[in-house]
Amino acid sequence: MAVSRCKIDFDVDDDPGSIRTFLERIEHAVQSDPIADVIVDLSKCECLGPDAVTVFAAVHRDLARQSRRLTIHPPVGPPSLRTFFDWSGLEAVVAERSPPDAQLGEDFNVLPIRTFVSANLLAPEPIVGIVRSRLRASEEWQEYLAICVNEVMQNIQDHSQSPIGGLMSAKFTAEAKELRVAIVDRGLGVCATLKGRFPDTTPENALKRVMEGRYTALSRQNNAGLGINHLKSIVQILGGHLYMVSWESEFALNPERQHYNVLPFQFRGTGVFFSLPVRED
């Protein structure tokens, strides 16, 4: 059986540069041979976040659908990364087991990878819970977070046609008082979806359109083109970070700047990665 190999020997933190390089390597391995199994070597990697493990889980599900396998050689260290790797539930996903419950540690709490097919008002509660177990997050902040999660889930449900549904996970770091959330699908992507209604949509303007709002594919009656714009507004209000990739389109936002870009490769799906500083009562 043919095998594509992929080595992630650098830290995949929440900066767009490292996530972009990570996605490029993964997709190169997945797409270089359309029938090959994929082996990812993480042994030299010393930092992974929810973004990376959620992408791995999505790629694994997608490959399984094509009767291909994703094998991961886990990181050797440091201990905190091994702990996160275990707690993230990635091992359970790859082994087709049920994900573990939320893991509450001393330095960080983790919501292991979850699969979803539709947005539900209760869906963000486990993410809110991993923060609330450590901090008295303000009611307003909890509301902001729940809306962010639901806006992304709703978009996946309505537009993506993802054959694996959506996957998400989250990590709360106590010292930084920061929550990171990753939500990923393997669907059609923003550009292809908008193009059906707005034929002049391109990889250059697709994410700009949804970030600025009022552009909707109208896949469902409940669509008004508000969701991703709302997500962006909330991340800005809270001074967080947002990184979104959809096929060749990329958007990055931090408190200092934002930028749109066209990638030299395709990420087959959409990934929304955001981090929010927690506001306490």
């Binding site: 539709s118 947005a119 539900n120 008002l121 209760l122 869906a123 963000p124 509660e125 809110v128 009611e139 307003e140 909890q142 509301e143 902001y144 729940a146 809306i147 999660v149 639901n150 806006e151 709703q154 449900q157 309505d158 059906g196 209604r197 034929p199 009022r214 552009y215 909707t216 109208l218 469902r220 009656q221 409940n222 669509n223 008004a224 083109g225 508000l226 969701g227 709302h230 909330i234």
Partner: protein, 117 residues
């Protein structure tokens, strides 16, 4: 004296939440409950306390259904809304603005164009 006005109906959104269903299902359920209450009461108070994570789609569906049933004028005339917090009100206002704008912004009304070759 209008007994419905002096004794308004009270609808708690948390009681209209479809816990197993989608956000859209919950938004529809709230709208249908409010529309039913309006048949017997001239004032309906909607209590959004306890409801978390109501996204744009929740309010889009709620407002869209209300618009169909009685027009958005009923929001000022017959309905009073108690928001749980400012964030929730902001989300509601954005949806309301979009639905109102949908009556005049072509983007929201345009039928997808079909190209034939």
């Amino acid at each position: 004296m209008d007994s419905g006005r002096s004794n308004p109906a009270r609808v708690a959104a948390i009681d209209c939440m479809d816990a197993q269903g989608s956000i859209v299902d919950s938004g529809m359920l709230l709208a249908d409950t409010v529309i039913n209450a309006m048949k017997t009461h001239s004032i309906v108070v909607i209590d959004l306390n306890g409801l978390r994570g109501a996204s744009s789609s929740y309010f889009n569906v709620f407002l869209g259904r209300l618009q169909e049933a009685c027009g958005l004028g009923c929001l000022e005339r017959d309905i009073s809304i108690e928001f749980a917090n400012d964030v929730q009100k902001m989300t509601f206002d954005r949806s309301l603005e979009a639905i109102q704008a949908g009556q005049r912004i072509p983007i929201l009304n345009t039928v997808p164009s079909k190209t034939t070759t």
